[in-house]
Subunit: 272 residues, 2 copies
């Protein structure tokens, strides 16, 4: 086993904890990794805690008892989130982005790894306490966001599709009504993907009527699972009443007059 200097221990400790959010490391584990005394590791953890709070990106939680240890809990401060959302809103508030049907072009944002990773971290902070077992989304545009959220929660991802594939194995289909277009659609999920009684977090890029979210709730029932959280990057102002009640949106979009191209994008109320 390599011996580490204190400088090195702290650096590796910060990276190790942040790279495995929610994973419990016992002091014994860490002492072994670094070939150091538990008391030294404790001092190192204080430095890491202090750094995390300086950068407002989360904190180290101590779990006492025989199964105890420490783990990193992701969670940006409200101020930091507000700043990030302001910057997203500024980028989105561009009339050039308006597409026919009240949609907004945002592939440049939802496919940008840094942005997406930050947003995933916000969602992870919002839903960490819900003890999520799996993040779920429907193909395609929400996948990077859902993946980044799953990474920050350190849980697997499930992707429902519109058609079954040879690589899924046996799968379950449901039909659902899209909230805005009132069109019947199909959602398919491989049977092997979800364990019974899992707590799911549904993540998507966009919510208009909420039909997809409602579809996911129905799909979850078929697997004896529960949707314990719903997070979307953008929700539209209208319709104000969605098909689901309990969800977190990061920003709210209002295209007030499509012809005149009036658009506002603001952080959703909960962040103000």
């Amino acid at each position: 086993m390599d011996k580490f200097h204190r400088n090195e221990r702290i650096a590796v400790l910060l990276k190790t904890l942040c790279d495995s959010p929610g994973e419990t490391f016992t002091l014994g584990n860490l002492a072994d990794i670094f070939g150091a005394a538990k008391s030294s590791v404790c001092e190192d953890l204080d430095v890491v805690q202090n750094l995390l709070s300086k950068f407002e990106i989360g904190y180290v939680e101590s779990i006492s008892g025989s199964l105890g240890g420490v783990r990193f809990i992701p969670g940006y401060s409200k101020n930091k989130i507000k700043d990030m959302l302001d910057s997203v809103c500024q980028e989105l508030s561009n009339t050039q982005r308006i597409l026919p049907g009240g949609y907004l072009y945002m592939l440049d944002i939802i496919y940008n790894p840094k942005r997406v990773s930050d947003i995933g971290s916000i969602f992870a902070g919002c839903f960490f306490k819900k003890e999520i077992d799996c993040v779920i989304t429907v193909e395609t545009k929400g996948i990077p966001l859902a993946f980044a959220t799953a990474k920050h929660l350190n849980v697997p991802l499930a992707i429902a599709r519109h058609n079954s594939e040879a690589t899924d194995g046996p799968s379950v289909n449901i039909n659902y009504l899209s909230g805005s277009a009132k069109k019947i659609q199909t959602m398919v999920l491989s049977k092997r993907v979800l364990k019974r009684n899992s707590r799911l977090l549904f993540i998507d890029d966009f919510m208009k009527g909420g039909g997809t979210a409602k579809g996911i709730i129905e799909l979850a029932k078929e697997f004896d699972c529960e949707v314990s959280g719903i997070g979307v990057l953008v929700e539209t102002c209208k319709p104000q009443k969605k098909l689901v009640n309990d969800y977190v949106s990061l920003v709210t979009l209002n295209i007030s007059n499509e012809e005149e191209e009036m658009i506002t994008v603001e952080p959703s109320e909960v962040w103000m």
Copy 2:
């Protein structure tokens, strides 16, 4: 500006560089961030370099000249890659995974954020020197791998779809022949996603005949772009001759007798 102790500087430096692979930080930048002298930052960088080589996850490159600075280049050592691939192969070598048509169930692996992030890091190391501008994939199963690779290369992601969507804006369609099933398929990509003359890296989970890769090369031409690299997690032994020549696969799958369920999965030749 906060002042940082040396311990703290090294920890934040390691995290900052690793979180933004390929991004150049000048010594001046770093000295400002930490409120430290450039000479101190240089010493800190030596410690970080040493740590990266201990963990075999990449290195810090110095760029001289007036635009110079330092940047993190991802890249696991060959030994580390071999270990990771051995573990993937072990997980995949399970007859329970065999699906009709010579496919393999692997959603549990390609939707597992930690695994996927490691694999993305391997691809990033393979293709870093190709100066990739954008990672491209086709929906759906390759998206997490492509996203993780894009994150480690610090470039945007592009996702070609099978049908155009209202949220794409104007898009370009091509038809292509799938290599194994000889079926005509369509690929669509939003016009706004790719800049002309971009160097693309195509990432996918599975290659049988190579038809999808060939399709992506055709699609790239329509955008005046070039496919500078192709990386797949799993390639099949048969057909031995693919529709593309120049690609990197991580592991090779051989289902020799579907009825008797004989299966071998091994690291591809280049890693042996």
